[in-house]
C-alpha cells in the first residue's frame, strides 16, 4: 500500500504587513503520496512558496493542519524530526552554499545530525554520486556553474536522507543547460531513490515531467491532476495568464479547425506521433 507522506487540511496562512493582513493561503487541502512528483505552478503571490514553507515547518498554520509522515508541524517537539524528513532547495544557489569545498558543504547537514564521521564519508560520496557531482568533491562551490551549485545544494539535502524534497523555483536563475541538469537530477532521485518531490516552478516545460500538476491562484488550488489533464485546459490556464506548453496550444488550435489531435499533447514528439500515426 502506498503511504501518504503529506496531508494538508484546510490550511490558512496570512502575512501581516503595514498595509494590513494579506491572506496567502485560504483553505488549502492536499494529500501527497510517497514517491509522487508534484509540480506546483501559479503566479508570484499565488501562495506557492508559502505552501512550500509549511512543509517543513518554516511557517506554521494559522488555521488547519499539516501532517508530514504523520507528524503535526504545529507540534514543537517534532520539529527536528520533520526537518530531517523534508529537505528544501531554494531559488538562489549562492545563498545556500556555505563551506569552502563541495564535500564539506554536503557534509554539513549530516554533521549537524550528529552522525559519526565514517558514516558521513559514505553519505557524502553517495549523495554527490546521486547528483552527478562526485568528481567535483574538492572544488570550491563558488567556482561552479549555477546548475552545478544547485546540484551540490541538492546533494547536501540528499545526504540527510530525507523522505521529501521540496524545491522552490530551483531553476529560476539558471541558464537552459543548468535547468536541464537540475531537472534530470531531480527526476532521477524521484525515479531511482523513490524520493517524494514537490517542485515549484514557472517553467511549464518542467511541470510537464511531473506525475501531478497543481495550479494555485490567490491562495487556493484551482486545478489538480496529471499534466496531460491540467494542460489540456488551455483556456482555464490562459484566463489565469499562465503559459500553456506550445504543443498543447497548437493541438488546441488544430482541433478547433477540425483536425483530430488529442488535447493532451504536451511535447514535440507527441505532436509528431499524433500527426504521423
Amino acid at each position: 500500500m502506498v503511504k501518504t507522506m503529506i496531508v494538508i487540511t484546510d490550511l490558512v496562512h496570512q502575512y501581516n504587513t503595514p498595509q494590513g493582513e494579506i491572506p496567502a493561503l485560504q483553505g488549502v487541502s492536499l494529500k501527497i503520496e510517497q514517491g509522487d512528483f508534484v509540480a506546483i505552478i501559479g503566479h508570484n503571490g499565488s501562495g506557492k512558496s508559502t505552501l512550500a514553507k509549511h512543509l517543513n515547518a518554516l511557517l506554521l498554520p494559522h488555521a488547519g493542519q499539516v501532517l508530514i509522515n504523520g507528524l503535526d508541524t504545529s507540534d514543537k517537539d517534532k520539529l527536528w524530526q520533520i526537518r530531517q524528513q523534508v529537505g528544501m532547495v531554494f531559488q538562489n544557489p549562492d545563498n545556500q552554499l556555505i563551506a569552502t569545498t563541495v564535500e564539506e558543504d554536503v557534509a554539513f547537514g549530516p554533521e549537524n545530525l550528529g552522525i559519526e564521521p565514517a558514516k558521513i564519508r559514505v553519505r557524502v560520496d553517495e549523495a554527490l554520486s546521486s547528483v552527478g557531482m562526485k568528481e567535483y568533491y574538492r572544488r570550491a562551490p563558488h567556482l561552479l556553474s549555477g546548475g552545478q551549485k544547485q546540484r551540490v545544494a541538492i546533494a547536501g539535502i540528499v545526504a540527510m536522507r530525507p523522505q521529501i524534497l521540496v524545491l522552490d523555483e530551483p531553476t529560476a536563475m539558471l541558464d537552459p543547460i543548468g535547468r536541464r541538469e537540475v531537472m534530470d537530477t531531480v527526476l532521477r532521485l524521484n525515479r531511482e531513490e523513490g524520493l517524494t518531490v514537490v517542485h515549484i516552478t514557472h517553467f511549464m516545460e518542467e511541470a510537464v515531467y511531473a506525475k501531478r500538476v497543481i495550479v494555485m491562484e490567490t491562495g487556493r488550488i484551482v486545478l489538480d491532476g496529471p499534466p496531460r489533464e491540467v494542460f489540456s485546459q488551455v483556456h482555464a490556464l490562459q484566463r489565469l495568464s499562465l503559459d500553456v506548453p506550445a504543443m498543447t496550444e497548437l493541438a488546441d488550435e488544430l482541433s478547433k479547425d477540425g483536425l483530430n489531435v488529442s488535447a493532451g499533447v504536451l511535447t514535440v514528439e507527441e505532436m509528431v506521433t499524433a500527426l504521423c500515426p
Partner: protein, 286 residues
C-alpha cells in the same frame, strides 16, 4: 549612426597564468532602429561583448565606435557614450537604493548633470515609458514593489537618461509568466518608439517572436548574425553548441524529417497551424 565593432578581441588577465580570451575578432554593427537578440550559453562571451557597447570594457584589439566615436580615444568622454548606450544588467532591481521610486529614477540624470528643473520631466517620462503611474508610485519605497514593478522601476532609471541604444541583459530572468510578459511588452513598445534594443536572453521563444536580427555567439565568436527565421531553420548546428530552438521550429523540422512537405522557417503557433492544415488538406500538393 550605429554601434560598430571592428575586429574586437578581449583577453581577461593578459600575460598571467589565468589569461583567457573571451572575444575573438568580432565584427558587428548595431544600426539605429535595430531590435537584436543576442544568444549564447553561459561563458560564451555575451556579457563581455555587451560591456564593450558602452565602454565598460575596452577591446584588447580592434575598435568599438558609438555613433562614430571611438570609445578608446582619449578625447572621447565615456559619459557621452554611456548617455547614448543605456545598460540594464541582470537583476537590475538589486541596484535600487533610494528611498522613493522617483528619487531612484532621478539618480542617473542628476549624475549626468541635467539641470534640476528638467529632472522631474525626465523621471515622469521614463516612468510613463515603463507603465508606472507617476502619481501612484513616485513616493513609494522601491523595496515595497512587486518583482515585476521593481524591475520596471530599475529600467526607468536607465531610460531617464534618454539613451538611444538600450542593452538589456536577461530582463525577464526570475520573473513569473505575467512579469515576463509585462517586461517584454514594454521592451517591444520602447523599440516601436524608436529606441534601438539589444536583448540578451536564454528564451528562444521570446527572441523568435520579437527581434529582427539574431546574433548567436559561441566560444567568443559570432556564429550567426541573421533573421531569426534563417537561424532557427538550421536545427543541428544550434543544438551542437548547446542552444535550443523554439518549440515550433523543432516541430517543423521533425515533420520534415518524417517526409512532410513543410517549411521549417516558421516560428509562431499560428504559422505552424496554417502550414499543418495546408498539408493535411492537401493544398500545395498539386
Amino acid at each position: 549612426m550605429s554601434i560598430k565593432l571592428t575586429g574586437v578581441s578581449y583577453i581577461y588577465q593578459p600575460k598571467t597564468p589565468y589569461e583567457y580570451q573571451a572575444l575573438k575578432n568580432i565584427d558587428l554593427e548595431i544600426g539605429e532602429g535595430d531590435f537584436i537578440g543576442l544568444i549564447g550559453h553561459t561563458g560564451s562571451g555575451k556579457s563581455t561583448l555587451i560591456q564593450h557597447f558602452n565602454g565598460l570594457l575596452k577591446p584588447t584589439a580592434g575598435e568599438v565606435a558609438v555613433d562614430g566615436l571611438n570609445i578608446a580615444a582619449k578625447d572621447v568622454k565615456l559619459k557621452t557614450i554611456r548617455q547614448k548606450v543605456g545598460m540594464v544588467f541582470q537583476y537590475p532591481e538589486h541596484q535600487l537604493f533610494e528611498e522613493t521610486v522617483s528619487a531612484d529614477i532621478a539618480f542617473g540624470p542628476k549624475n549626468m548633470g541635467v539641470p534640476e528643473g528638467e529632472i522631474t520631466a525626465k523621471v515622469k517620462k521614463a516612468m510613463q515609458m515603463v507603465n508606472l503611474d507617476y502619481k501612484k508610485y513616485k513616493d513609494l519605497s522601491p523595496f515595497g514593489l512587486s518583482g515585476g514593478e521593481k524591475r520596471r522601476a530599475a529600467i526607468a532609471g536607465v531610460l531617464a537618461m534618454e539613451p538611444k541604444y538600450l542593452i538589456l541583459d536577461e530582463p525577464t530572468a526570475g520573473l513569473d509568466p505575467r512579469g515576463r510578459e509585462e517586461i517584454l511588452a514594454q521592451v517591444e513598445k520602447l523599440h516601436k518608439q524608436g529606441i534601438t534594443v539589444v536583448l540578451v536572453t536564454h528564451s528562444m521563444d521570446d527572441v523568435a517572436r520579437l527581434v529582427n536580427r539574431l546574433v548567436v555567439i559561441n566560444h567568443g565568436e559570432i556564429v550567426y548574425n541573421d533573421a531569426p527565421r534563417q537561424v532557427f531553420s538550421q536545427d543541428q548546428s544550434l543544438q551542437q553548441i548547446g542552444l535550443d530552438i523554439p518549440t515550433v521550429a523543432q516541430l517543423m523540422l521533425r515533420l520534415k524529417e518524417k517526409g512532410w512537405p513543410v517549411r521549417t522557417d516558421l516560428l509562431t503557433i499560428q504559422e505552424a497551424k496554417e502550414e499543418i492544415l495546408k498539408v493535411v488538406r492537401g493544398v500545395g500538393h498539386a
